[in-house]
Symmetry: C2
Subunit: 210 residues, 2 copies
DNA sequence: ATCAGCGTTAGCCTAAAGGACAATGGCAGG
DNA sequence: CCTGCCATTGTCCTTTAGGCTAACGCTGAT
Protein backbone atom coordinates (compact mmCIF):
# COMPACT_ATOMS: atom_id res chain seq x y z
CA UNK A 1 0.00 0.00 0.00
CA UNK A 2 2.47 2.59 1.17
CA UNK A 3 5.67 2.44 -0.77
CA UNK A 4 8.95 3.38 0.89
CA UNK A 5 9.84 7.03 0.42
CA UNK A 6 6.18 7.98 0.40
CA UNK A 7 5.08 10.89 2.54
CA UNK A 8 1.89 9.88 4.33
CA UNK A 9 -0.52 12.78 4.88
CA UNK A 10 -3.56 13.57 6.97
CA UNK A 11 -5.80 16.35 5.62
CA UNK A 12 -8.07 18.16 8.07
CA UNK A 13 -10.57 20.83 7.04
CA UNK A 14 -14.25 21.33 7.72
CA UNK A 15 -14.93 22.49 4.17
CA UNK A 16 -15.46 19.60 1.78
CA UNK A 17 -14.39 21.71 -1.17
CA UNK A 18 -11.08 22.69 0.42
CA UNK A 19 -10.41 19.13 1.51
CA UNK A 20 -11.01 17.83 -1.97
CA UNK A 21 -8.89 20.58 -3.46
CA UNK A 22 -5.98 19.73 -1.22
CA UNK A 23 -6.29 16.03 -1.90
CA UNK A 24 -6.51 16.64 -5.64
CA UNK A 25 -3.45 18.85 -5.49
CA UNK A 26 -1.46 16.34 -3.48
CA UNK A 27 -2.44 13.37 -5.62
CA UNK A 28 -0.49 14.82 -8.50
CA UNK A 29 2.72 14.05 -6.62
CA UNK A 30 3.66 10.41 -6.70
CA UNK A 31 5.52 10.54 -3.40
CA UNK A 32 2.53 11.95 -1.52
CA UNK A 33 -0.18 9.75 -0.16
CA UNK A 34 -3.24 11.07 1.67
CA UNK A 35 -3.92 8.30 4.16
CA UNK A 36 -6.88 9.96 5.87
CA UNK A 37 -9.09 13.01 6.07
CA UNK A 38 -10.96 14.65 8.94
CA UNK A 39 -13.55 17.38 9.04
CA UNK A 40 -13.05 18.63 12.57
CA UNK A 41 -10.46 18.75 15.32
CA UNK A 42 -11.79 15.82 17.33
CA UNK A 43 -11.83 13.60 14.28
CA UNK A 44 -8.33 14.78 13.43
CA UNK A 45 -6.98 13.47 16.72
CA UNK A 46 -8.61 10.08 16.13
CA UNK A 47 -7.35 9.82 12.57
CA UNK A 48 -3.88 10.78 13.65
CA UNK A 49 -3.87 8.03 16.25
CA UNK A 50 -5.08 5.48 13.71
CA UNK A 51 -2.78 6.37 10.85
CA UNK A 52 0.26 8.11 12.32
CA UNK A 53 0.80 10.28 9.22
CA UNK A 54 4.18 11.79 8.47
CA UNK A 55 2.68 15.23 8.03
CA UNK A 56 -0.73 16.66 8.90
CA UNK A 57 -2.35 19.58 7.07
CA UNK A 58 -4.85 21.18 9.41
CA UNK A 59 -7.26 24.10 9.13
CA UNK A 60 -7.05 26.47 12.07
CA UNK A 61 -10.71 27.39 12.37
CA UNK A 62 -13.00 24.39 12.73
CA UNK A 63 -16.06 23.33 14.70
CA UNK A 64 -15.87 20.93 17.67
CA UNK A 65 -12.18 21.37 18.33
CA UNK A 66 -10.21 24.22 16.80
CA UNK A 67 -7.08 23.51 14.83
CA UNK A 68 -4.84 24.82 17.56
CA UNK A 69 -6.59 22.72 20.20
CA UNK A 70 -6.37 19.63 18.02
CA UNK A 71 -2.72 20.37 17.38
CA UNK A 72 -2.07 20.59 21.10
CA UNK A 73 -3.94 17.36 21.74
CA UNK A 74 -2.03 15.54 19.05
CA UNK A 75 1.36 16.77 20.18
CA UNK A 76 0.58 15.90 23.77
CA UNK A 77 0.22 12.31 22.61
CA UNK A 78 2.75 12.35 19.80
CA UNK A 79 5.38 14.99 20.52
CA UNK A 80 7.14 14.28 17.25
CA UNK A 81 4.03 15.00 15.18
CA UNK A 82 4.60 17.36 12.26
CA UNK A 83 1.64 19.61 11.56
CA UNK A 84 1.19 22.41 9.03
CA UNK A 85 -1.61 24.81 9.87
CA UNK A 86 -3.85 26.24 7.16
CA UNK A 87 -5.75 29.47 7.30
CA UNK A 88 -7.70 31.79 5.04
CA UNK A 89 -5.73 34.51 6.77
CA UNK A 90 -7.67 36.15 9.53
CA UNK A 91 -4.64 37.89 10.90
CA UNK A 92 -1.49 36.90 12.64
CA UNK A 93 -2.88 36.28 16.08
CA UNK A 94 -3.48 32.64 15.28
CA UNK A 95 0.10 32.21 14.16
CA UNK A 96 1.46 32.69 17.65
CA UNK A 97 -0.99 30.20 19.06
CA UNK A 98 -0.23 27.71 16.36
CA UNK A 99 3.53 27.98 16.67
CA UNK A 100 3.32 27.95 20.45
CA UNK A 101 1.32 24.74 20.23
CA UNK A 102 4.10 23.26 18.13
CA UNK A 103 3.09 23.77 14.51
CA UNK A 104 5.87 23.07 12.03
CA UNK A 105 4.40 25.28 9.35
CA UNK A 106 1.74 27.80 8.56
CA UNK A 107 0.16 28.24 5.14
CA UNK A 108 -2.44 30.50 3.65
CA UNK A 109 -5.19 28.74 1.77
CA UNK A 110 -4.51 30.72 -1.36
CA UNK A 111 -1.19 28.89 -1.47
CA UNK A 112 0.23 27.95 -4.85
CA UNK A 113 0.71 24.26 -5.56
CA UNK A 114 4.47 24.44 -5.61
CA UNK A 115 4.65 26.23 -2.30
CA UNK A 116 2.44 23.65 -0.65
CA UNK A 117 4.58 20.81 -1.95
CA UNK A 118 7.76 22.54 -0.87
CA UNK A 119 6.38 23.22 2.59
CA UNK A 120 5.33 19.62 3.08
CA UNK A 121 8.76 18.31 1.99
CA UNK A 122 10.46 20.80 4.26
CA UNK A 123 8.37 19.87 7.26
CA UNK A 124 8.71 16.17 6.53
CA UNK A 125 12.48 16.56 6.66
CA UNK A 126 12.02 17.94 10.17
CA UNK A 127 12.25 21.59 9.18
CA UNK A 128 9.84 24.45 9.45
CA UNK A 129 8.07 26.50 6.83
CA UNK A 130 6.58 29.97 7.02
CA UNK A 131 5.54 32.04 4.00
CA UNK A 132 7.37 35.25 3.19
CA UNK A 133 5.00 37.81 4.67
CA UNK A 134 4.05 35.74 7.69
CA UNK A 135 7.56 35.34 8.98
CA UNK A 136 7.99 39.08 8.59
CA UNK A 137 4.85 39.94 10.53
CA UNK A 138 5.89 37.53 13.25
CA UNK A 139 8.96 39.55 14.08
CA UNK A 140 7.09 42.84 13.64
CA UNK A 141 4.40 42.08 16.11
CA UNK A 142 6.66 40.25 18.50
CA UNK A 143 7.87 43.64 19.66
CA UNK A 144 4.37 45.06 19.92
CA UNK A 145 2.93 44.04 23.28
CA UNK A 146 0.26 41.38 23.25
CA UNK A 147 -3.07 41.59 25.01
CA UNK A 148 -3.70 39.76 28.26
CA UNK A 149 -6.55 37.21 28.44
CA UNK A 150 -8.63 39.64 30.42
CA UNK A 151 -8.07 42.40 27.91
CA UNK A 152 -9.13 40.11 25.10
CA UNK A 153 -12.27 39.31 27.05
CA UNK A 154 -13.00 43.01 27.37
CA UNK A 155 -12.14 43.61 23.72
CA UNK A 156 -14.68 41.04 22.61
CA UNK A 157 -17.38 42.89 24.50
CA UNK A 158 -16.19 46.18 23.08
CA UNK A 159 -16.58 44.65 19.63
CA UNK A 160 -20.18 43.82 20.45
CA UNK A 161 -20.82 47.51 20.98
CA UNK A 162 -21.08 47.42 24.77
CA UNK A 163 -20.26 50.54 26.78
CA UNK A 164 -17.71 50.45 29.57
CA UNK A 165 -20.53 50.31 32.06
CA UNK A 166 -22.16 47.37 30.33
CA UNK A 167 -18.83 45.57 30.10
CA UNK A 168 -18.29 46.13 33.80
CA UNK A 169 -21.69 44.68 34.52
CA UNK A 170 -21.08 41.59 32.40
CA UNK A 171 -17.65 40.88 33.84
CA UNK A 172 -18.60 41.82 37.39
CA UNK A 173 -16.31 44.71 38.10
CA UNK A 174 -16.63 48.48 38.14
CA UNK A 175 -16.60 50.69 35.09
CA UNK A 176 -13.27 52.04 36.28
CA UNK A 177 -11.78 48.66 35.57
CA UNK A 178 -13.44 48.54 32.18
CA UNK A 179 -11.99 51.92 31.33
CA UNK A 180 -8.55 50.87 32.50
CA UNK A 181 -8.63 47.76 30.32
CA UNK A 182 -9.87 49.70 27.33
CA UNK A 183 -7.13 52.25 27.78
CA UNK A 184 -4.51 49.54 27.85
CA UNK A 185 -6.05 47.89 24.81
CA UNK A 186 -6.02 51.14 22.84
CA UNK A 187 -2.40 51.72 23.69
CA UNK A 188 -1.29 48.18 22.90
CA UNK A 189 -3.08 48.16 19.58
CA UNK A 190 -1.82 51.60 18.71
CA UNK A 191 -5.25 53.06 18.02
CA UNK A 192 -7.10 56.06 19.36
CA UNK A 193 -10.57 54.77 20.03
CA UNK A 194 -12.51 51.57 20.57
CA UNK A 195 -13.84 51.46 17.05
CA UNK A 196 -10.35 51.45 15.63
CA UNK A 197 -9.46 48.82 18.21
CA UNK A 198 -12.14 46.51 16.89
CA UNK A 199 -11.04 46.65 13.27
CA UNK A 200 -7.40 46.39 14.24
CA UNK A 201 -8.17 43.39 16.43
CA UNK A 202 -10.07 41.75 13.60
CA UNK A 203 -7.22 42.30 11.20
CA UNK A 204 -4.84 40.73 13.66
CA UNK A 205 -7.25 37.87 14.27
CA UNK A 206 -7.59 38.62 17.97
CA UNK A 207 -11.36 38.76 17.81
CA UNK A 208 -13.72 37.38 15.18
CA UNK A 209 -17.23 37.93 13.96
CA UNK A 210 -20.35 36.09 15.28
CA UNK B 1 -15.86 16.14 -26.69
CA UNK B 2 -19.07 17.38 -25.18
CA UNK B 3 -21.77 14.74 -25.24
CA UNK B 4 -25.40 15.76 -25.52
CA UNK B 5 -27.04 16.14 -22.15
CA UNK B 6 -23.80 17.29 -20.61
CA UNK B 7 -23.83 20.40 -18.44
CA UNK B 8 -20.86 22.54 -19.41
CA UNK B 9 -19.38 24.47 -16.50
CA UNK B 10 -17.04 27.40 -15.93
CA UNK B 11 -15.36 27.51 -12.52
CA UNK B 12 -14.08 30.87 -11.26
CA UNK B 13 -12.18 31.30 -8.00
CA UNK B 14 -8.93 33.01 -7.11
CA UNK B 15 -7.93 30.22 -4.74
CA UNK B 16 -6.29 27.30 -6.50
CA UNK B 17 -7.31 24.92 -3.75
CA UNK B 18 -10.98 25.84 -3.95
CA UNK B 19 -10.94 25.66 -7.73
CA UNK B 20 -9.42 22.20 -7.64
CA UNK B 21 -11.87 21.11 -4.98
CA UNK B 22 -14.83 22.22 -7.03
CA UNK B 23 -13.49 20.59 -10.17
CA UNK B 24 -12.77 17.36 -8.31
CA UNK B 25 -16.26 17.39 -6.85
CA UNK B 26 -17.89 18.04 -10.20
CA UNK B 27 -15.85 15.44 -12.04
CA UNK B 28 -17.58 12.70 -10.08
CA UNK B 29 -20.78 13.44 -11.99
CA UNK B 30 -20.78 12.06 -15.50
CA UNK B 31 -23.13 14.71 -16.82
CA UNK B 32 -20.94 17.58 -15.62
CA UNK B 33 -18.05 18.87 -17.64
CA UNK B 34 -15.79 21.69 -16.50
CA UNK B 35 -14.88 23.35 -19.79
CA UNK B 36 -12.79 26.16 -18.31
CA UNK B 37 -11.48 27.77 -15.15
CA UNK B 38 -10.60 31.35 -14.29
CA UNK B 39 -8.85 32.90 -11.34
CA UNK B 40 -10.25 36.40 -11.45
CA UNK B 41 -13.23 38.34 -12.73
CA UNK B 42 -11.59 39.68 -15.88
CA UNK B 43 -10.46 36.22 -16.90
CA UNK B 44 -13.94 34.91 -16.15
CA UNK B 45 -15.47 37.23 -18.72
CA UNK B 46 -12.97 36.10 -21.35
CA UNK B 47 -13.48 32.42 -20.62
CA UNK B 48 -17.22 32.83 -20.71
CA UNK B 49 -16.99 34.44 -24.13
CA UNK B 50 -14.76 31.64 -25.40
CA UNK B 51 -16.66 28.69 -24.03
CA UNK B 52 -20.26 29.80 -23.45
CA UNK B 53 -20.77 27.44 -20.51
CA UNK B 54 -24.24 26.36 -19.45
CA UNK B 55 -23.58 27.32 -15.86
CA UNK B 56 -20.83 29.39 -14.23
CA UNK B 57 -19.69 28.95 -10.62
CA UNK B 58 -18.13 32.20 -9.49
CA UNK B 59 -16.53 33.38 -6.27
CA UNK B 60 -17.83 36.75 -5.12
CA UNK B 61 -14.64 38.21 -3.73
CA UNK B 62 -11.76 38.23 -6.18
CA UNK B 63 -8.93 40.49 -7.30
CA UNK B 64 -9.04 42.50 -10.55
CA UNK B 65 -12.77 42.32 -11.04
CA UNK B 66 -15.09 41.23 -8.25
CA UNK B 67 -17.53 38.43 -8.79
CA UNK B 68 -20.47 40.78 -8.92
CA UNK B 69 -18.75 43.03 -11.42
CA UNK B 70 -17.80 40.07 -13.59
CA UNK B 71 -21.36 38.79 -13.34
CA UNK B 72 -22.70 42.13 -14.50
CA UNK B 73 -20.23 42.25 -17.38
CA UNK B 74 -21.11 38.74 -18.48
CA UNK B 75 -24.83 39.31 -18.33
CA UNK B 76 -24.51 42.57 -20.22
CA UNK B 77 -23.07 40.54 -23.07
CA UNK B 78 -25.00 37.31 -22.54
CA UNK B 79 -28.30 38.11 -20.81
CA UNK B 80 -29.23 34.45 -20.67
CA UNK B 81 -26.06 33.52 -18.74
CA UNK B 82 -26.68 31.36 -15.69
CA UNK B 83 -24.30 32.11 -12.84
CA UNK B 84 -24.12 30.70 -9.32
CA UNK B 85 -22.20 32.88 -6.88
CA UNK B 86 -19.96 31.33 -4.24
CA UNK B 87 -18.99 32.90 -0.96
CA UNK B 88 -17.31 31.99 2.28
CA UNK B 89 -20.17 33.94 3.84
CA UNK B 90 -19.20 37.44 4.71
CA UNK B 91 -22.75 38.51 5.27
CA UNK B 92 -25.83 39.01 3.24
CA UNK B 93 -25.01 42.36 1.71
CA UNK B 94 -23.33 40.66 -1.21
CA UNK B 95 -26.41 38.58 -1.83
CA UNK B 96 -28.47 41.60 -2.79
CA UNK B 97 -25.77 42.82 -5.15
CA UNK B 98 -25.38 39.38 -6.68
CA UNK B 99 -29.09 38.81 -7.18
CA UNK B 100 -29.56 42.35 -8.46
CA UNK B 101 -26.81 41.70 -11.00
CA UNK B 102 -28.70 38.64 -12.14
CA UNK B 103 -27.22 35.69 -10.28
CA UNK B 104 -29.27 32.51 -10.56
CA UNK B 105 -27.95 31.03 -7.36
CA UNK B 106 -25.88 31.71 -4.29
CA UNK B 107 -23.91 29.08 -2.44
CA UNK B 108 -21.73 29.00 0.66
CA UNK B 109 -18.33 27.43 0.13
CA UNK B 110 -18.93 24.93 2.88
CA UNK B 111 -21.60 23.49 0.65
CA UNK B 112 -22.12 19.73 0.67
CA UNK B 113 -21.55 17.88 -2.56
CA UNK B 114 -25.18 16.96 -3.05
CA UNK B 115 -26.36 20.49 -2.56
CA UNK B 116 -23.90 21.83 -5.10
CA UNK B 117 -25.01 19.26 -7.66
CA UNK B 118 -28.66 19.98 -7.00
CA UNK B 119 -28.12 23.73 -7.30
CA UNK B 120 -26.32 23.37 -10.61
CA UNK B 121 -29.06 21.15 -12.04
CA UNK B 122 -31.72 23.55 -10.84
CA UNK B 123 -30.00 26.57 -12.34
CA UNK B 124 -29.28 24.73 -15.56
CA UNK B 125 -33.00 24.04 -15.92
CA UNK B 126 -33.51 27.78 -15.76
CA UNK B 127 -34.46 27.87 -12.10
CA UNK B 128 -32.92 29.57 -9.14
CA UNK B 129 -31.30 28.17 -6.03
CA UNK B 130 -30.76 29.74 -2.62
CA UNK B 131 -29.78 27.80 0.51
CA UNK B 132 -32.19 27.56 3.41
CA UNK B 133 -30.82 30.23 5.68
CA UNK B 134 -29.90 32.67 2.95
CA UNK B 135 -33.39 32.87 1.52
CA UNK B 136 -34.64 33.46 5.03
CA UNK B 137 -32.22 36.27 5.74
CA UNK B 138 -33.12 37.86 2.42
CA UNK B 139 -36.69 38.40 3.47
CA UNK B 140 -35.66 39.40 7.00
CA UNK B 141 -33.37 42.18 5.95
CA UNK B 142 -35.55 43.29 3.08
CA UNK B 143 -37.79 44.94 5.63
CA UNK B 144 -34.93 46.50 7.56
CA UNK B 145 -33.99 49.77 5.87
CA UNK B 146 -30.85 49.74 3.80
CA UNK B 147 -28.07 52.27 4.02
CA UNK B 148 -27.67 54.99 1.41
CA UNK B 149 -24.38 55.18 -0.55
CA UNK B 150 -23.35 58.19 1.44
CA UNK B 151 -24.04 56.44 4.71
CA UNK B 152 -21.95 53.48 3.60
CA UNK B 153 -19.15 55.88 2.78
CA UNK B 154 -19.37 57.31 6.29
CA UNK B 155 -19.63 53.87 7.82
CA UNK B 156 -16.39 52.80 6.18
CA UNK B 157 -14.61 55.72 7.78
CA UNK B 158 -16.24 54.94 11.10
CA UNK B 159 -14.85 51.43 10.79
CA UNK B 160 -11.39 52.89 10.37
CA UNK B 161 -11.73 54.50 13.76
CA UNK B 162 -12.18 58.07 12.57
CA UNK B 163 -14.07 60.56 14.72
CA UNK B 164 -17.03 62.49 13.36
CA UNK B 165 -14.80 65.49 12.91
CA UNK B 166 -12.22 63.52 10.97
CA UNK B 167 -14.92 62.00 8.81
CA UNK B 168 -16.30 65.45 8.11
CA UNK B 169 -12.85 66.61 7.09
CA UNK B 170 -12.31 63.68 4.73
CA UNK B 171 -15.70 63.96 3.06
CA UNK B 172 -15.69 67.75 3.01
CA UNK B 173 -18.68 68.59 5.13
CA UNK B 174 -19.25 69.72 8.69
CA UNK B 175 -19.19 67.43 11.69
CA UNK B 176 -22.91 68.07 12.06
CA UNK B 177 -23.44 66.15 8.87
CA UNK B 178 -21.17 63.38 10.05
CA UNK B 179 -23.15 63.10 13.25
CA UNK B 180 -26.42 63.06 11.33
CA UNK B 181 -25.22 60.23 9.10
CA UNK B 182 -23.90 58.27 12.05
CA UNK B 183 -27.19 58.68 13.86
CA UNK B 184 -29.08 57.37 10.84
CA UNK B 185 -26.65 54.49 10.50
CA UNK B 186 -27.05 53.50 14.14
CA UNK B 187 -30.81 53.53 13.82
CA UNK B 188 -30.88 51.60 10.57
CA UNK B 189 -28.53 48.94 11.87
CA UNK B 190 -30.37 48.73 15.16
CA UNK B 191 -27.31 49.35 17.32
CA UNK B 192 -26.48 51.86 20.02
CA UNK B 193 -23.00 53.01 19.15
CA UNK B 194 -20.52 53.17 16.31
CA UNK B 195 -18.56 50.21 17.53
CA UNK B 196 -21.60 47.98 17.37
CA UNK B 197 -22.33 49.46 13.96
CA UNK B 198 -18.96 48.29 12.67
CA UNK B 199 -19.36 44.66 13.72
CA UNK B 200 -22.96 44.60 12.58
CA UNK B 201 -21.93 46.03 9.22
CA UNK B 202 -19.19 43.44 8.90
CA UNK B 203 -21.58 40.63 9.69
CA UNK B 204 -23.94 41.92 7.03
CA UNK B 205 -21.07 42.31 4.60
CA UNK B 206 -21.63 46.04 4.18
CA UNK B 207 -18.03 46.85 5.00
CA UNK B 208 -14.95 44.64 4.96
CA UNK B 209 -11.52 44.52 6.50
CA UNK B 210 -8.33 45.98 4.93
C1' DA C 1 12.84 38.67 48.77
C1' DT C 2 12.32 41.66 45.29
C1' DC C 3 10.45 42.98 41.04
C1' DA C 4 7.49 42.92 37.10
C1' DG C 5 3.11 42.21 35.20
C1' DC C 6 -1.69 41.68 35.89
C1' DG C 7 -6.26 42.90 37.51
C1' DT C 8 -8.52 45.91 40.13
C1' DT C 9 -10.28 50.55 41.95
C1' DA C 10 -10.26 55.52 41.89
C1' DG C 11 -9.98 60.55 41.07
C1' DC C 12 -10.22 64.67 37.60
C1' DC C 13 -10.71 66.80 33.29
C1' DT C 14 -11.60 67.69 28.30
C1' DA C 15 -13.34 66.08 24.16
C1' DA C 16 -16.44 63.34 21.78
C1' DA C 17 -20.57 60.77 21.15
C1' DG C 18 -25.36 60.20 20.92
C1' DG C 19 -30.58 61.46 21.60
C1' DA C 20 -34.28 64.67 20.36
C1' DC C 21 -35.94 67.99 17.25
C1' DA C 22 -35.91 71.14 13.28
C1' DA C 23 -34.89 73.06 8.84
C1' DT C 24 -32.97 73.68 4.05
C1' DG C 25 -32.23 72.51 -1.04
C1' DG C 26 -32.03 68.91 -4.49
C1' DC C 27 -33.77 65.38 -7.15
C1' DA C 28 -36.59 61.45 -8.71
C1' DG C 29 -41.23 59.21 -9.03
C1' DG C 30 -46.16 59.33 -8.93
C1' DC D 1 -46.98 69.54 -9.36
C1' DC D 2 -46.03 67.61 -5.21
C1' DT D 3 -44.42 64.15 -2.12
C1' DG D 4 -40.83 61.61 -0.33
C1' DC D 5 -36.07 60.52 0.26
C1' DC D 6 -31.45 62.15 0.57
C1' DA D 7 -27.72 65.10 2.04
C1' DT D 8 -26.74 68.87 4.50
C1' DT D 9 -26.48 72.15 8.65
C1' DG D 10 -28.00 73.48 12.94
C1' DT D 11 -29.12 73.70 18.51
C1' DC D 12 -29.51 71.83 23.21
C1' DC D 13 -28.53 68.60 26.41
C1' DT D 14 -26.82 64.27 28.72
C1' DT D 15 -23.92 60.53 28.70
C1' DT D 16 -19.74 58.35 27.41
C1' DA D 17 -15.04 58.06 26.15
C1' DG D 18 -10.41 58.75 26.67
C1' DG D 19 -5.90 61.07 28.72
C1' DC D 20 -3.28 61.41 33.02
C1' DT D 21 -2.00 59.86 37.43
C1' DA D 22 -2.03 56.90 41.40
C1' DA D 23 -2.80 53.20 44.18
C1' DC D 24 -3.37 48.07 46.08
C1' DG D 25 -3.26 42.92 46.31
C1' DC D 26 -1.75 39.03 43.87
C1' DT D 27 1.23 35.77 41.34
C1' DG D 28 5.23 34.13 39.27
C1' DA D 29 9.94 34.62 38.07
C1' DT D 30 14.72 35.94 39.28
Amino acid sequence: MTKPGQIRLLVVDDHLVVRMGLVALLKRRKDFEVVAEAENGAQAVERFREHRPDVCLMDIRMPKLSGVQALAAIRAEFPEARVIMLTTYDGDSDIHGALAAGASGYLLKDVEGEELVFAIREVHRGGRYLPEGVAQRLTEHSKSPQLTPREIEVLELVAKGLSNKQIASVLNFTDFTAKAHVRNILEKLGVEDRTGAVTEAMQRGIVHLE
